[in-house]
């Protein structure tokens, strides 16, 4: 599914923020990504959701080496990836419904099918009565659930979440984790970036631990 081979990454002419990353995320695996602030978690996630390309090394995703892949072929790969951003990154002028519907619209899903799926998912995350609300009127937890719904609506093959439980209470946090595990059980590869040691301990999935731009894999993969 995803393979890093001696991957290094730098922003512009700056120093390398990731060095010699070699790891493999098998299809259907579930990993936590953790490490101290500045260790390179966000940069690794940016490589995984194709916001950046490696400065060196090889990165293979969905059986395609993306370092030198033609730019116009990246959108197809990005549609197979769902991302829950730490700051949600909801589109402020779109309703909760339209935010969640966006990946389906980009994939040209028929309108009726799209409406049914989005309505069902928003009801599932407890936002059936908030579908028409704009992000500015949603609480932190509601925004997070909209962001998660948007990330999973198109049934991505790879789901990335950056601190997805950071803005919700413990109960909802666990519920969201169960949702991620449910998606993982039907084949979605999941990577959750978190600082929450208790969450990592409770769910017991393998851990990618980053220190000073280098990664160490802990636990069975």
């Amino acid at each position: 599914m995803v393979r890093f081979e001696n991957v290094g990454m730098r922003y512009g002419l700056g120093p390398e923020v990731l060095r010699d990353i070699t790891l493999e995320l098998k299809a259907g695996s579930f990993h936590f990504l953790t490490g101290p602030s500045g260790a390179g978690k966000s940069s690794l996630l940016r490589l995984l959701y194709l916001a950046n390309r490696p400065s060196r090394g090889l990165l293979t995703m969905f059986e395609q080496e993306v370092t030198r892949l033609a730019r116009d072929r990246l959108p197809d790969l990005r549609r197979r990836i769902g991302v829950v951003f730490q700051d949600f990154r909801l589109i402020p002028h779109l309703s909760a419904f339209d935010n969640v519907a966006l990946p389906l619209r980009l994939a040209d899903t028929p309108e009726a099918q799209m409406r049914a799926h989005v309505g069902e998912l928003l009801a599932w995350v407890g936002l059936a009565d908030r579908m028409t609300a704009r992000p500015a009127t949603l609480s932190g937890g509601e925004k997070q659930r909209v962001a998660i719904a948007r990330a999973v609506i198109a049934r991505p093959r790879l789901l990335l979440a950056d601190e997805p439980t950071g803005n919700v209470d413990a109960d909802l946090g666990y519920r969201l984790m169960y949702l991620f595990e449910e998606l993982n059980r039907v084949g979605t590869t999941v990577v959750i970036a978190t600082h929450d040691g208790r969450l990592i301990e409770r769910f017991g999935h393998p851990v990618l631990r980053l220190r000073a731009g280098m990664v160490q894999v802990e636990g069975a993969t």
């Binding site: 959701y49 589109i91 402020p92 980009l106 040209d108």
Partner: protein, 292 residues
């Protein structure tokens, strides 16, 4: 991709309020310049039609018997020259009529010697070689000259063509200025919506999907401004036409536009809209290419 949807909400941008007015002013100026240029085209054609199929033989004044002899020689040359459809010797009243604008009515002394003027109408299908005719008339008839008006019309047409070229250059410059303004407006819009564009881009939106939202938006702004500018320009041009018809002055070209010239002018808003659309699309695609 779903068409017609706007994820970026560009309609709330400052460009949506300002750009139609800017494009409207540009289309107004372009329509006036183009209207002037097309009108000059018509005037040049009219001058050429009126003067290139005419020539005049002038014979200097001489005593009556000599003048009759010279006229006879000139007529002989004219009749033996192929390509002259018609000739007419202007009588004394017609000659006096030509001088009246400068000397006033009734101010010519009766004994004032006047030249002979022979007005030639040239067969446009088989025009004579005027150089040959000039050589023969000057050799055969003392004091005779051929004036084919080429000097006068040549200068006039050259001046008119220069003005026309300037007007068309002005239209081109206005077009370039419009392109520059749309580029700046598009870049400003792109920068203002960069965050949303980045999200959509990361979700797998193709460049064409994002560019379409800008190009549709700017197409609408261009069309709105273009129609506004053209409406005011047409009112101005109609005003000029009406004013021109009420003025007397044969040397000044009237603003007279053929139906196809009016049609050309009505295409300006379409052109403005297409220029805005194409420029916005190219600008957005160029900005997107800088993203991974």
């Amino acid at each position: 991709m779903s068409r017609g949807r706007s994820d970026l909400q560009l309609e709330g941008d400052p460009s949506a309020r300002i750009l139609p007015w800017v494009i409207g002013i540009m289309v107004y100026l372009a329509a006036l310049a183009l209207g002037g240029a097309l009108s000059i085209n018509g005037a040049i054609e009219r001058w050429n039609r009126a003067l290139t199929d005419r020539a005049t033989i002038q014979i200097d004044p001489a005593p009556s018997a000599e003048q009759d002899r010279r006229l006879g020689l000139a007529i002989e040359v004219i009749k033996t020259t192929p390509g002259i459809a018609r000739h007419e010797v202007l009588g004394r009243p017609a000659l006096i009529g030509l001088l009246e604008p400068w000397l006033g009515r009734g101010n010519l002394p009766g004994e004032l010697p006047l030249p002979i003027l022979i007005d030639l109408t040239i067969d446009p299908a088989a025009p004579p070689r005027l150089d040959e005719l000039r050589r023969r008339i000057e050799a055969s008839v003392p004091g005779a000259r051929l004036d084919d008006h080429s000097l006068w019309t040549g200068g006039l047409v050259a001046a008119a063509r220069a003005i026309q070229a300037l007007a068309l250059a002005a239209v081109g410059l206005i077009g370039l200025a419009a392109v520059a303004i749309v580029v700046f407006a598009t870049r400003a819009g792109f920068a203002a919506h960069l965050e949303v564009i980045d999200i959509i881009h990361l979700m797998g939106a193709r460049d064409a999907y994002i560019a379409r939202q800008f190009q549709d938006h700017f197409l609408g702004l261009g069309a709105k401004g273009g129609i506004l500018g053209l409406a005011v320009a047409l009112a101005t041009l109609v005003g000029f036409v009406v004013l021109g018809e009420s003025m007397e002055g044969p040397l000044l070209p009237r603003l007279a536009l053929d139906w196809w010239a009016w049609l050309t002018l009505t295409l300006l808003p379409v052109l403005a809209a297409l220029v805005a659309r194409t420029t916005a699309r190219a600008t957005v695609l160029s900005q997107l290419r800088r993203m991974p």
